[in-house]
């Protein structure tokens, strides 16, 4: 196989990992919203935790995007 084509396919496969991060981020925000509607007065205090969980979860998706970008532009 042409190495350039293999790189492109590899970058595409690497991006599948971002789907998992999408599920995770959706779960975090969905549960936050569900809990915030049950107890709106406590919601504001958990905003920092929400963003922290979001950032940590998103990092894993970012790593797979990083692999895709490395394959496309750096290697």
């Amino acid at each position: 196989m042409d190495p350039q084509a293999a790189k492109m396919i590899g970058a595409g496969i690497a991006c599948i990992g971002m789907g998992g991060a999408g599920v995770g981020v959706g779960t975090i925000f969905g549960h936050y919203l569900a809990a915030a509607l049950r107890n709106p007065s406590a919601a504001q205090g958990q905003f920092g935790n929400l963003i922290f969980g979001f950032a940590v979860t998103e990092a894993l998706g970012i790593f797979s995007l990083l692999i895709a970008l490395l394959l496309l532009f750096a290697l």
């Binding site: 920092g48 963003i51 979001f54 950032a55 998103e58 990092a59 970012i62 790593f63 990083l66 970008l69």
Partner: protein, 248 residues
Amino acid sequence: MDPIHQFEIKTLFPITHIGGAEIAFTNSALFMVIGLLVILLLMLGATGSRAMVPGRLQAVAEMSYEFVASTLRSTAGSEGMKFFPLVFSLFMFILVLNVMGIVPYTFTVTSHIIVTVALALLVFFTVIIYGFWKNGWRFLKLFVPSGIPIYILPLVTFIEVLSFLSRPVSHSVRLFANMLAGHITLKVFGGFVTMLSALGFLGWLGAILPLGLTVALTALELLVAFLQAYVFAILTCIYLNDAIHPGH
């Protein structure tokens, strides 16, 4: 039409050569200077009058101060307030550069990994140096959580060390990748508009759809620009909290 073209670094005027590397004033440096001037003028203009009832400009400065101060106080405690200048500078610098980058024909400094890596490593080494300076060897308790059964402790310690070392990577790549991906998406949809409108009258009608999407995406990018600056600041606070209060 190339969506990557916007990230090209151009030399505005060369300064000198050190070894094989060219040292020059680039468009990246120009926009960093502009961002710095914007923050400086905002803060100087806001604190110039010091009215009891704040005007618009003073309200912006007070709100941003309160926002960062409450974030830092709630994550790192009142001891963390000595790092307020660092966190506030990082937040304002990234926020202004992100928002400025959305304006067409400007350059997004934070979409270059070299900038974000420099900022993330600054935080990383601040945490390590301050952690060892304040706590001595007790800083290493950060990697050994208490209340863990002894037989899985080596594994947990290994994972803790690994996650600590991967912090600067995720910290910097998050900001860089969000900015890069968002701006490429904007340019790709902008490219659809020009491609469709080149087809004639029917193309003009069809181009309304991607044009509307571009407007909506710009609004989303504004949200992302703020959110990423906030995420960078709050992660800085959380990492600094580890240096101030190690041990779980």
